[in-house]
């Protein structure tokens, strides 16, 4: 690994640690720790949401998908924007008005029962931990190759840094790391897109080279999944999962009001579209034009050196030499840190606010601010420790399934409960828990029964369920179960919608 890459890497690490130390001095109360004091501007929050959504796995994965499947990866570009659009029109405003620190606050406004909050908290912990493991495995593999260090050291360093950011700087540090990463990522992707066109001579020439390298069918849309059900279910996971991922949803609690929350979604949608459109139009074809078939980037004929995730790094080297490659590696590093830190904040605030507080209150005690903060920091450390441990155990597993599982669970648990809580006055506590449980069990169960786990990992001849994506079944089942259980157990003499929720929905 060259000195240029190491210097870029060290500079980014120093800046992010500096941000954590600066934020740590400003964190004086739970409001600041969990929600950055609610004083983040819409532009800053838009950048941070974009930073949360566009993870290294998303960038490297999208580029690798274009490299292998051509325009079929368009579903990964369009679906998030549909998700953001629905998030804006249905959830951003009410979430900010009803929530304080976590999505558990939103549920408590509708269903003031501690067990609902604790159930939602447990779902958040499970799916965020899976997403953290997926990010850590991907990051560990990538940086062990890039920096020529052992995988275990790579994963452990990221884990330690995340504990520092989350435990010391809380949401404020995480938000500013996200903002810095988003600006770096945006600049890097746009710069690479421009360089690709310049190197090819024109947009037409770039696509001509790409099509020549890909062969026939680069513009076809049918090569990504094996069936219509899988395609639809994948799109549903991406769209609905986005509206249930806690680390994205709690971003709306860092701005002053509902209007600022809505404006930040608009800004993030524009930024996400810019990044994904540049990948679809310029960077994806550039990988085919300048990386495919180039011996310097292959370990054997037809095999990319370091695996498919390295394609983006190889392209940066092809377009801008070692300096650009160093910058992109540093950007990737900050991206992974920022996303894992965002997940860490979501989990820590959930453990402290949605599980520890109701548990203490159930025992007749009022937890102190100090105890609350201790639980927050302890959760950050435990989360990182479990994440590193699982990442070491799952080093050779397919991380795409941990990510898919996290999005699938979010689409089948948090999303149905939240949407029903906001828009259906008949939802009851048992209905919410039953619906969320049905979604949780089905999404995990069907993934295990699917082709990758049941057939490829467990070695059975045929899968029990024909697709790896179960959201089309699990999410409707969660809605249906929640509604049926609520209707069966409803007490007609009592309205379950609290004044707070009615007011928030009316103000939409």
């Amino acid at each position: 690994m060259s000195a240029t890459v190491l210097i870029c890497f060290a500079v980014v690490m120093a800046i992010t640690v500096g941000i954590a130390v600066w934020a740590g001095r400003k964190v004086s109360d739970p409001e600041m720790m969990y929600a950055a004091g609610g004083r983040i501007s819409p532009l800053q929050n838009g950048l941070a949401i974009m930073g949360d959504f566009v993870s290294a796995a998303a960038i490297f994965g999208s580029v690798a998908l274009f490299f292998t499947a051509g325009a079929s990866m368009a579903v990964y570009s369009v679906a998030p924007l549909v998700g953001l659009c629905l998030l804006l029109s249905l959830m951003a405003g009410p979430l900010r008005r009803l929530g304080r620190f976590t999505i558990g606050d939103v549920l408590m406004a509708k269903l003031p029962r501690p067990y609902v909050r604790m159930f939602a908290g447990c779902c958040t912990l499970v799916l965020s931990q899976m997403y953290i493991v997926a990010q850590l495995v991907a990051a560990g593999s990538l940086f062990s190759i890039l920096l020529a260090i052992p995988y275990s050291l790579s994963v452990s360093v990221i884990g330690i840094l995340v504990v520092l950011y989350v435990g010391y700087g809380g949401m404020l540090a995480t938000t500013w790391v996200q903002i810095g990463k988003a600006v770096l990522l945006l600049s890097g992707v746009v710069l690479m897109g421009v360089l690709a066109v310049v190197k090819a001579g024109s947009l037409t020439a770039l696509h001509a080279k790409a099509q020549a390298a890909f062969g026939p069918g680069m513009g076809a849309l049918d090569s990504l999944t094996t069936s219509s059900f899988s395609t639809l279910s994948l799109a549903a996971s991406l769209v609905l999962g986005m509206m249930g991922m806690p680390h994205l949803l709690i971003r709306f609690l860092t701005v002053p009001d509902g209007r600022a929350a809505e404006r930040s979604v608009l800004i993030s949608a524009a930024l996400v579209a810019l990044v994904l459109a540049t990948i679809l139009l310029l960077i994806g074809p550039a990988t085919l034009a300048f990386v495919k078939g180039v011996p310097a980037y292959e370990s054997a004929p037809g095999e990319i050196a370091g695996g498919a995730n390295m394609i983006f790094i190889h392209l940066s080297n092809a377009l801008g030499g070692e300096l650009l490659a160093g910058i992109i590696v540093a950007v990737a590093f900050s991206t992974i840190l920022a996303v894992v830190a965002g997940l860490g904040v979501a989990m820590s605030s959930t453990a402290a606010h949605d599980i520890f507080v109701p548990w203490q209150e159930g025992r007749g005690k009022t937890p102190s601010e100090k105890a609350n903060r201790l639980i927050f920091r302890l959760t950050a450390a435990i989360t990182a420790f479990i994440g590193v441990l699982l990442a070491l155990l799952l080093q050779h597993e397919n991380v795409a399934f941990l990510s898919a599982l996290a999005f699938g669970i979010a689409a089948s648990t948090n999303f149905p409960i939240l949407l029903l809580a906001l828009y259906w006055r008949g939802l009851t506590g048992p209905g919410a828990v039953a619906g969320g449980s049905a979604g949780l069990i089905l999404s995990i169960g069907l993934l295990i029964a699917g082709p990758t786990v049941w057939q490829k990992i467990l070695g059975h001849a045929e899968p029990l369920f024909p697709s790896d994506y179960s959201t089309l079944i699990a999410a409707p089942a969660a809605f249906l179960t929640a509604m049926v259980v609520s209707l069966l157990g409803r007490r007609p003499q009592r309205s379950s919608r609290s004044p707070a929720i009615s007011d928030a929905v009316k103000r939409l």
């Binding site: 947009l203 037409t204 509902g258 979604v265």
Partner: protein, 69 residues
């Protein structure tokens, strides 16, 4: 009402996406413009439409806030 209309519009935009993924529009979009496959132009157009829809929704929601407040 504005929220409902924008939500329906968002879902309406989801339909061509899914139809495209299913290959229904695949046959209609063969060929290329300026050397770029038409499928990519279609995806970009849809992404632009979605960002514009987000903008319209934000304005609509702001108006509805002002109506209430």
């Amino acid at each position: 009402m504005l929220k409902l209309i924008t939500s329906v519009l968002a879902l309406a935009l989801l339909v061509p996406l899914l139809a495209g993924m299913l290959g229904v529009i695949d046959g209609l979009s063969m060929g290329s413009s300026f050397g770029v496959p038409n499928t990519i132009w279609m995806a970009l157009a849809e992404m632009t439409a979605l960002v514009l829809l987000c903008g319209v929704t934000t304005i609509a929601l702001r108006s509805s806030h002002e109506d209430v407040e």
